[in-house]
């Protein structure tokens, strides 16, 4: 069964009004379980809208979005999604550990199970000693790691990420990319990742989905079959070749 199956999905905002926006036109996309796909494109190409369609945060104007063979809305009600956004979106009034435990509380986990899981997740993102701190005491990169730990805490089958590293400096960003890949390999989740950084898309994903703007459409699917995604990959000629390929596809999409 496919992780995500999108058939002819469109999205029109403010239909029939003067500020009508045709955000997405006829999207068809299939994602297999365990894939790491990146949505890339110019700003306003509808990549965040597409992510929100998959996550059932907004409904398509027409067409269908299915996740693991069921409607996206059902998947959301079944809590199949973990989400992370550009802003970490942590709750200041909860400690770091309690932030990670929030989805678990909503799912009715017992206190002991929650404690154990948040400790485990903090180990994973290497922030164990900050469990009792409040989010604002942490740097931007650390907050983002907490947000990712929170998204992964209940082992969602699908992880949706909207430019989660967009606000980070280059050093932290590259470090976080390596961390995310490590976590992805350890947990077997399917990831949909929105970015507008070409090197980030190539470094992270097994497939880059290139989008064009107005209305948002899929212009190209580029498989990235690079092995050993370590630090050395960034200096590998094969990596640069893929970067060039994505860049060309983006330019053609814009033309």
């Amino acid at each position: 069964m496919n992780a995500i199956e999108i058939c002819g999905a469109t999205k029109v905002f403010n239909r029939g009004r003067s500020n009508e926006v045709n955000a997405l036109a006829e999207i068809n996309l299939t994602v297999e379980p365990g894939e790491f796909i990146t949505l890339i494109g110019p700003s306003g190409c509808g990549k965040s809208t597409l992510l929100r369609l998959i996550g059932s945060l907004i409904a398509p104007s027409s067409g269908q979005v299915q996740v693991h063979g069921k409607a996206a809305e059902q998947a959301r009600l079944d809590r199949d999604y973990g989400m992370a956004f550009q802003t970490a979106g942590l709750f200041d009034w909860r400690t770091v550990a309690k932030n990670i435990e929030l989805p678990l509380e909503l799912m009715g986990w017992s206190r002991t199970k929650r404690r154990a899981r948040s400790a485990e997740m903090l180990e994973l993102v290497k922030l164990a000693e900050f469990a009792k701190h409040h989010p604002r005491e942490l740097s931007g990169g650390m907050q983002q790691r907490v947000a990712i730990a929170r998204a992964l805490a209940f082992s969602p089958v699908l992880l949706l990420m909207d430019e989660p590293f967009g606000a980070l400096d280059e050093m932290t960003r590259e470090h976080m990319q390596v961390e995310l890949l490590r976590i992805w390999e350890q947990t077997d989740t399917t990831v949909v990742f929105v970015t507008h950084s070409i090197p980030e898309a190539v470094f992270l994903s097994t497939r880059v989905v290139v989008m064009s703007a107005r209305p948002g459409a899929i212009a190209a699917n580029i498989a990235v079959d690079l092995d050993d995604r370590g630090v050395a990959l960034r200096d590998d000629p094969a990596f640069f070749k893929k970067v060039t390929e994505v860049r060309t596809a983006l330019r053609e999409a814009e033309a």
């Binding site: 959301r76 956004f85 709750f91 929030l102 909503l106 650390m142």
Partner: protein, 264 residues
């Protein structure tokens, strides 16, 4: 963490107290040098003496005015918070209550004091309480409503992605988010409430409250007694303000933590 918090609290209290003592010292000293007539400005020592001499009347006045302030503040807070919850929950309520509240806020409430006396009876403290309620309501309502609605969009989307109910989102996100807004309004409301009560008392209500003590003493040129009553009013305002500050620190320890710098 606790000892640091106590030190911080002590620091934030001690500085204004020292400053206040310095001001009183300069005030006393300047009057000694310039020696104006007593009714222009009595010396702090004379005010304290008048307070001691008229302790029964002033403390009774403070009890009455204090009751008007506290009860009016309490009702105003409850109504303001309820209205804020209502307008953020129901769109129809927002479209009717919000413009109405803005219109009411444009009314100079204190100017209604003589009219309220007519409604509630000239010597009833009810009219004074009504003035306090009306004045406190607005800042509490507007600020709390703002805090309930101005929530980080991604926090709401996150809760929706967990299929959280509306009431759960209110409890986990909107209400904690509104806390700093509410306390800002509460601190403002404490001093507004004292002003409202005393000015309202100038026009009516119980005749042994602080307002009438001030007007009557001033009329009899007993300015030191008038100042003693002002001092009592100040004490009510100060106690309520610091009560609000303490409550804020108890309810929102995270707010204090966020000011102590970050690990970069």
């Amino acid at each position: 963490m606790n000892s640091a918090r106590i030190t911080n609290t002590a620091k934030s209290f001690s500085a204004p107290i020292v400053a206040g003592l310095v001001i009183f010292g300069v005030w006393q000293g300047a009057l000694g040098l310039l020696d104006p007539d007593g009714f222009v400005l009595p010396a702090p020592i004379e005010i304290v003496a008048a307070l001691v001499d008229n302790w029964d009347a002033v403390s009774q006045g403070a009890r009455i005015t204090g009751f008007v302030v506290v009860s009016g503040l309490g009702v105003g807070i409850v109504l303001g918070v309820l209205a804020a919850l209502l307008v953020t929950r129901f769109r129809a309520a927002n479209e009717t209550i919000t413009p109405l509240a803005v219109a009411i806020n444009a009314v100079p409430i204190i100017a209604l004091a003589p009219i309220f006396n007519n409604w509630f009876g000239l010597t009833s403290p009810r009219s004074n309480q009504a003035i306090v309620v009306a004045l406190v309501f607005f800042p509490i309502f507007i600020n709390t409503a703002r805090g309930l609605t101005q929530v980080d969009r991604s926090q709401i989307e996150l809760m929706e992605s967990y299929a959280a109910s509306r009431s759960r989102i209110a409890r986990e996100v909107r209400i904690p988010n509104a806390m700093p807004y509410f306390f800002t309004a509460l601190k403002l409301a404490t001093s507004l409430a004292v002003i409202a009560a005393i000015v309202a008392e100038y026009f009516g209500g119980r005749q042994d409250a602080l307002g009438p003590i001030i007007t009557q003493s001033a009329g009899l040129t007993r300015y030191d007694t008038a100042w003693a009553a002002v001092l009592a009013g100040t004490a009510i305002g100060a106690v309520l303000y610091f009560g609000a500050v303490l409550l804020e620190r108890l309810v929102m320890p995270w707010h204090l933590a966020s000011r102590n710098g970050s690990h970069e």
